[in-house]
Amino acid sequence: MSMNDPIARGLASGWNVVDASKLTENRTVEADVVIIGTGAGGGTTAEILSKQGLSVILVEEGGLYYQKDFKMDEQTAYATLYQEGMSRTTADGAISILQGRCVGGSTTVNWTSSFRTPEQTLNYWSQKFGLEGLAPDVMAPWFQGREERHNMAPWATPPNLNNDILRQGCDTLGYSWKTIPRNVNGCWNSGYCGVGCPTNAKLGSLMTTIPGALDNQAQMFHGLRAERLVMKQDRIDHLEASAMSSDGVTPSGVTVTLKASHFVVAASAIGSPGLLLRSDLPDPHNRVGKRSFIHPVSATVARMSAKVDPFYGAPQSIYSDEFNFKNGNDGPIGYKLEVPPLHPGMAAGVVPGHGQQQRDNLGQLPWLQSVIALLRDGFHPESPGGTVSLRDDGSPVLDYPMTDYLWDGIRQSYLDMAEIQFAAGADAVQAVHMDSAWHTSWKKAKAAINELPMRSHRARIFTAHQMGGCGMGSNPEESVVNGFGEHHHVANLSVHDASIFPTSIGANPQLSVYALAARNSVRLAQKLTAKG
C-alpha cells in the first residue's frame, strides 16, 4: 500500500489504534476524556482536546476503512460503510436513512457539500430556544476556522451536466442558484464520494481531525460498540462497550470498560439519543429522543436527450435556495434544491420497481438526471419531528410520522423540481413515487403530480441528514443540553454532534457540526485543563 496514504502512514508510525474485533480478553482503559463517535463531531473534539494535552480515547462502532478499501464499488461500500448495511429505515420502513457507520462517520461517505448554518436558522434558534450565543456574528469565526481546517471553498471546476441542469432550469425560470462549497483538496472530479473517496481528496474527519488527534497520542478503538454509560452518584463513571466480531456487526463477547473524567457523546442523531436512553441517564422532562429531524428528501428524475452520465463528476456542485426560506417559518415548508449522483445500485435500490419496466428505466441511466428537495423540518408547529426509541435488543430506531404539512411540501417540491427540469430541456420527468408515470410536458406533469396520492410507501422519501433528539436550549424542560452541548443534568457529559440541533438546519449539516463541536470543545478543553 502506498505510504502516501495518511492512514497507512500513521498506522505504520505507531498510532494507538485498536481493532476491537482482534481482542480476545476483556480490558479496562482510562483517559481524561472518552469520545463516542468519530464523525464530524467526535473527530473535531478529539483533535482539539488532544492538542491541549488531554488524553483522549475515541470509540467507533464501525470499522477503519481507508484508501486501500475504497475501490469505487457500490456493493462493498454500502455493506461496510453505511448503517445497517444501507438498509436503515424509519420504524415503519417508509423512509430510507443513508448514514455512515465507519471511522469518520458520515463525513467518509457524504457528497462533500459544506454550508454554514443559514443565518435564518441561527436567528430562529436564538429567538425560540434562548440560544443567543449562536447568533450569526458570534458563529462566523467558528465557521471560518473550520472552512480553513477542511479546505472548504466553492467548487471551481465547471459542474457536471447532472448539476448543470439544475443551474440551467433555475436560470430559465429566473430562480436563484449558487455553487456549492466542497471540502476537498486535489479532487479528481470522479464522482465516487459516496463510496469512500478513492484519492484521499475529500477532507472529512478521516483525512483531517482523526489523524490530527492520533498524531497527538489519542487512542482509537474501532469495531467497538458503546453500550452503556454507567453513573456513580451524579457523574458518569465509565462506559461499557462491546467488541464486534470480524463480520463487523455481531458482538464477539469481549467487553471493554472505558473510564474517564469527562465523556463526549458524538454518535449521531440516532446513535446519541439511543446511547442516552440505553444508559437510563437523568431525563426528568422526557426529552431524549424527541424532536428528531431528517430533512425529508423527495426526488424527481428527468430523461434528457443528451448523455448526462450522472455517475461521474463531483456529485454536488450546484444548489438553489429559491424555495428554502421564502415562506418564512409560519408558511408552507421550505426546501433546498440539490442534485444526487446516480450509480446503478443506488438508482435500482431507491427507485423500487421490477421487471421489464425497471430494466427499461435503468437502461436509460446515462441520460437520467435527478433533482432532490431537502425539506426544512422542525420550524413549524405541524412539523414536530420524529422520536428515537429503543428496540427490544437495545438498538435505536427512529419513528418519523409524515404530517399533512410535510406532504403538502413534498407535492409542491415535485412540482418545482419538474418545472425546473422541463425548463432545462427534459424530454420527460417522473416523480420518485410508486404511482408516477413519465410525463412528457410540464403541463401534463403538473396535472398528474397534483393528483398523486401523498401517502407513506407510495411517495419515496429519503434522508441523509439526521438531526436533533438531544436538542440544545436554555430551558432544561424543553432541551437535553445547553448552548455549549453540556448535558443539563449530568456534569461530566457533553453531546457534540447533530443531535443537539433544536430544528433541522436547512442545509447539509457537516459544517454546522464541525463548527459547533470546535466551539464547544475549546470551552471544554479550557474547563478540563483548568481543573487539572
Binding site: 454500502y78 445497517e84 448495511g85 415503519d92 470522479s190 435503468l362 435488543d393 410508486m434
Partner: protein, 210 residues
C-alpha cells in the same frame, strides 16, 4: 350531522382493521405471529449453509449465513419476475446470474444487523408458510411451482396494494434484489454504466497488486 357521520365511519370495524394493519406496530405484531407459527409448523428457517452444486446449481463453496433453503426457493421463483428482460437468455448463464444474485442477497443481509434481519425473517416466513402465502400473497402453489407470470402478478399485487404493510414488503424484496443485481459488475452493461474510469483504476494504488 356530517361531523358525527365521519366520526362513526372512521370507527367502523373494517376501517379500524385496515388502520391497524397499516401501522408499524400492528404490522410488527402481525408478522411476529406469522413467524412464530411458521417456525412451529416446521418451515425451514435455519441458514442453508453450503448447498451441493447438483441440488441447487449454486456455487457449492458459498456458505449461506442467513437465507434458508425455503428462502432460496422463494428468490429462485421471484428473481425471473423481478429481472424480466434483464436476465440472460442462455439457460446456463441465466441460472448462474440467479444463483450469484441470491448469494449476494445473503451477503448483503448479513450486514443489515440483527433487528433488520429479524424483520426480514418474518417477511420470508410469511411468504413461505402456506396459509399466509395463500391469504396474504394470494400465491396458491409453493414457490418452486410458481410460474414467472404468477410471481409477477404477486409482486404487482403487493406493489399496488392499499396496505402500507404489503407495499413495504414489495419495497423490501425489490430493493434487496435490485441492489444485489444491478449494483454488480456483471449487470452494469444493462444500465449503460461503464464502471469506474479506467484511467483512475490504472493510476490508483489500491488497484495494484502488492
Amino acid at each position: 350531522m356530517p361531523d358525527q357521520k365521519t366520526h362513526s365511519a372512521e370507527n367502523s370495524p373494517q376501517l379500524s382493521r385496515r388502520s391497524f394493519l397499516k401501522t408499524g406496530v400492528g404490522g410488527t405484531l402481525f408478522l411476529g405471529t406469522v413467524s412464530l407459527t411458521a417456525g412451529l409448523s416446521g418451515c425451514a428457517t435455519a441458514p442453508a449453509g453450503r448447498i451441493s452444486a447438483v441440488e441447487s446449481r449454486m456455487n457449492a463453496s458459498y456458505q449461506f449465513q442467513f437465507l434458508s433453503k425455503d428462502d432460496i426457493a422463494l428468490f429462485e421463483a421471484l428473481l425471473p419476475a423481478l429481472f424480466a428482460g434483464a436476465l440472460p437468455e442462455d439457460p446456463n448463464k441465466r441460472q448462474f446470474e440467479i444463483a450469484a444474485t441470491i448469494e449476494r442477497v445473503d451477503q448483503g443481509i448479513v450486514q443489515f444487523g440483527a433487528p433488520n434481519q429479524k424483520e426480514l425473517r418474518k417477511l420470508f416466513d410469511l411468504l413461505n408458510f402456506a396459509p399466509t402465502r395463500i391469504t396474504l400473497a394470494r400465491v396458491w402453489s409453493d414457490w418452486p411451482s410458481v410460474t414467472t407470470k404468477e410471481a409477477d402478478a404477486f409482486l404487482n399485487r403487493w406493489r399496488n396494494s392499499r396496505l402500507g404493510l404489503l407495499n413495504n414488503g414489495y419495497i423490501a424484496l425489490s430493493k434487496i434484489a435490485n441492489v444485489a443485481f444491478y449494483g454488480h459488475e456483471n449487470q452494469w452493461h444493462l444500465t449503460g454504466y461503464p464502471g469506474p474510469p479506467a484511467w483512475m483504476v490504472d493510476a490508483l494504488p489500491q488497484f495494484k497488486n502488492a
